[in-house]
Symmetry: D5
């Protein structure tokens, strides 16, 4: 679960800029999660988007090139031990089979795409403790019979 | 990623009953995902809820006892290979660090609870292909300084 | 890399019937690889397709139900040790990065779908030794920016 | 799933040259996939082929020596988490047993060689979404009885 | 089970200062275990707490920034081999199921929070050999039915 | 993380008896955690203790013999996925190095015994949510120089 | 490293027959190692060879069918712990890179086939202790440039 | 399956010298496989042998010291993915149990030593494709009863 | 770390006989550790030794045959979690490199045989706590240069 | 199974000094195995012992500090592949259960301490081949009932 050196530099540049991911997202016209995925080396940007980022983050040529690449994605095949990330892994441990059953009931044999896909995170204030609301939206892909 | 024998029997009973998870959820007053989690041995029910289930599923005494237990949860520590379940694992591989960054930006140092938590699955019809929408809602738990 | 008991029974029934996968494919109007995937519990059939199969294989009710289900797919997360299957795994070890580079050159940032997908196997006779030709055909899915 | 430092340099040199793998393949008289395999350290070139590459890529002596070596091949024994590469791994999870069954039906007890082997990738345009077509062609090797 | 370079530097600074964790805890108004967690990169401090630390430890700007971050927590997914740490892992191996049973008896279906949580270590002198007393105090979180 | 068949039977006998672990502990003159460890096959009892247990649980001869044996202890070497047990594993991930540092500060080079050891679990009522308090008490064993 | 039930039966039948593998090899016209591979489910026999085996071993119809199949080969992906088998694994650990270097020096870039391959074991008597001589003979397969 | 930096340097020195392993073997009076094992850090040489090597390879003092050490042997516990080395691993997967059975038939309960052991590789020319012949010769060690 | 069913039966027969391993060792003329290894399926006995065992243990024919076989040895490749067995594994973790260094100092490059080997366990009474003394005695095998 | 950089330096200093571990042991008044454990970072020394070491080894201040620390012990959780160290691991594979049985026969339910523990290695000359004798001496710790 290593973060690459270039991602570390991009995150540091973002911290120094004082911008939140939400502000960077508004600048680029994308969701804040997608911008975070870009800085963590999990998505690739157009040249136009990179120019916009350069207006607020002091990016080197190498960093710009890295943002334009189609990166090797993923954290590596081990189970994460960071508690925040592990909780999402645990949700799949506990609710993976139920989710498969419900998707089957509603859609038939197929999967939810993780590529034609978006993910948002909202904060819902609550006097008993604020709540994190994560919304995943992916295209259903039916298994093709050939 | 073994499904236990008793869960297999419960799923078979549900299939024979012709009921969808959505109908079982309406009967029990719970979300369909929670009902699927119950039948897959990931949640426990009250005696009252079990009685309601018995009205539509022919449950044995052993099966009823199993539904009332606090089960050993989780699928076991291996990476799943079923494509539908793997996609959710991949989402954590690709978006795990970005989600941590966004939650940090919005809430500070802490986690989203996977226990004080709910999960819903909706079908959104779309002419370019229907979409699966998964909503997770968990309480934010800040790290306590002691 | 366990084959389930019900798949074993289906393969045995197929062997006893004297039919090749190619003949079963012609009967169902599908490719022989898809039919083999069905008998190995990696695909699901319609009731009509199951009726056709029953005309040549003596299937029990339980076997028919199993063919209609959306199965838990995959062989489990270990590296296979059967030499024939391992060679395909090795091809990904050796050619995985080159394939990623070529698909990137030709299509941009995205993946080949393994769901909107077909796979065929042909035998090409050759005096220096017959050749196996495997053709995979999957839809390109570009990464969506959200 | 680390790419070696020297492969990184070769890929960077290729990017700077503005050449596609297809153009490099035409220069060397080989398929673009083989050229990508060469730059990723999975194949070895003749001195003549290295001279041709030097005409378009500014290679150091150490890089030339590396291209002439018989390299340690493979990505290492872990399951890849890059989504594009994982899909091919998943195809083997889902279709590995069916492929073994079909090759057995058509050829008998043996394997498809991953050494006397070629692999091509084509783009087939399609209004519903372009398709990736991967063709693998390997010699059948029957098990020898001794 | 790697300790990060910055944690190593922080521990060295603490050793050079001649302060015990107990003294640092008194300075910050926190338990010594929490202070050790902070220096080992498992907790984050406020700017005020960092200022207090700077009064006794010669911290660089980078080290201060690191103490204010929400760190990637955990030691990585392998079983520890240091004998002191392994003993606590073994306690979970031997007493994990019994602890689950007792918590179930006393509280019902749920977990002890590892986030709304504190941990103390006391030394109890004993002529037959001093004893280590570890006290964990975590909020009970009942599983929510949704 | 399998529970053995004989442990399953003992837990079932306990459930049928209607006794809590606390009541069984009072009967045997031991802590409830130790009694749970005994029924889960992680501790061994004297003949006298087994006789007392037989007065409230209908034990077979084979079950009595199993309780008197020195059992193969531990859950097996995988990371647990049950959320309740995982939290304790996570505590070691997050607080393992800090605990080692504090024990070193207070005791020197050595370990806390997991054999000359006891473990208690208390429920502390709290209007903001009840708390689980786990107390571990183990002899400090200094490393011997030889 | 499980031996299948049917292999166990075949080995038992061989032991009861009093025949050595060498005698069975003479009967079938094959090397004793190949016959052992056949009984351990790693090779497949012709109907004629099965008939010859039936003349000395009392084989059931199911066992005969198993011998004619193209089996799932290999012991599974774990490192063996039986000392005799482990020594051969250790030889690859220690001499794997040297063997690659020597084969490269003598043959160029390619592999030794494990399919167009034979293996013999001889006993060489020696007053200082008898010696095991293992001879492997496989076709060299050069990497094809495509 | 990392090759150490010092082994890399020794192999580079050998390549620059233009000597084959066979020529180095003749110089030292040892088999070429043993010399390759020496350069790959899997064997140790006498001072006399190191002097002979220095006459053809320009060795530094550190490299000479490394050749005289009793090295940490082995490639590490993962399954190799280089195809040439994997084939030998696969041979043990397929023929491991048969080899154990034949050695048992011929020698009784014991192992072939991997220490009092030699290994040779020969090239046998063949119009249908040259063949690699590997000969392993190890002392049989019977299990001692104590 | 499974004990086989037949070993379980043999241990049960030993317990019912009331004999200690020490008494069985005296009967067979072997050390008690070797006898325990025999009953746990890690060693093989002569027919004469089996006859002696039958005089005190009621062995079935299948059990006698099992004792005469050359067994598949070892517990499987996982790290043991039983505390008693783990301590010996930990000793290798902590003292493995030191033992290699001392054996090198005293004997040169080679290993201690685990086959031409014996192991004894003694109890040394001590008022501060009895001590376990384990003595291993194995032939030194120097690495052969070939 | 990595040796740390500082341990490498300490071993190099020892080699340059020309002292054996036995001579260093005599200097410090400890067994040679303990001294090797100290240099390999598995034990900690007093300031007085470090002064004595400095009289024969040219130690830097950082190296002295490292010798005084309570180190992170163990080689990491993988199975060793160095043949000398593996043999001791194999001994636990083969004799682990028998040792547990014998210790149980002689001492009851408990373990041998790996902390209140010493280990010696002797060379016993023998015309048939010298023998390595390893003696482990650890306190028996009975499981406490609480």
């Amino acid at each position: 679960m290593e973060v690459s050196q270039i991602s570390q530099q991009l995150i540091t540049a973002k911290v120094k800029s004082g911008k939140s991911f939400s502000e960077l997202g508004a600048l680029l016209g994308h969701d804040e999660v997608w911008v975070a995925a870009l800085l963590y080396g999990q998505a690739s940007a157009s040249l136009d988007e990179i120019e916009k980022l350069k207006s607020v983050l002091p990016l080197t040529d190498e960093q710009c090139a890295s943002l334009a690449e189609c990166p090797l994605k993923g954290l590596g095949p081990v189970v994460p031990t960071d508690p925040l990330i592990y909780r999402f892994y645990e949700i799949m441990q506990v609710y993976g089979m139920p989710m498969k059953a419900i998707i089957h009931d509603k859609f038939g044999d197929g999967i939810m795409s993780a590529v034609d896909f978006s993910l948002n995170i909202d904060k819902v204030e609550d006097p008993k403790g604020d709540r994190v609301v994560v919304t995943m939206n992916g295209k259903f892909l039916p298994y093709k019979k050939f």
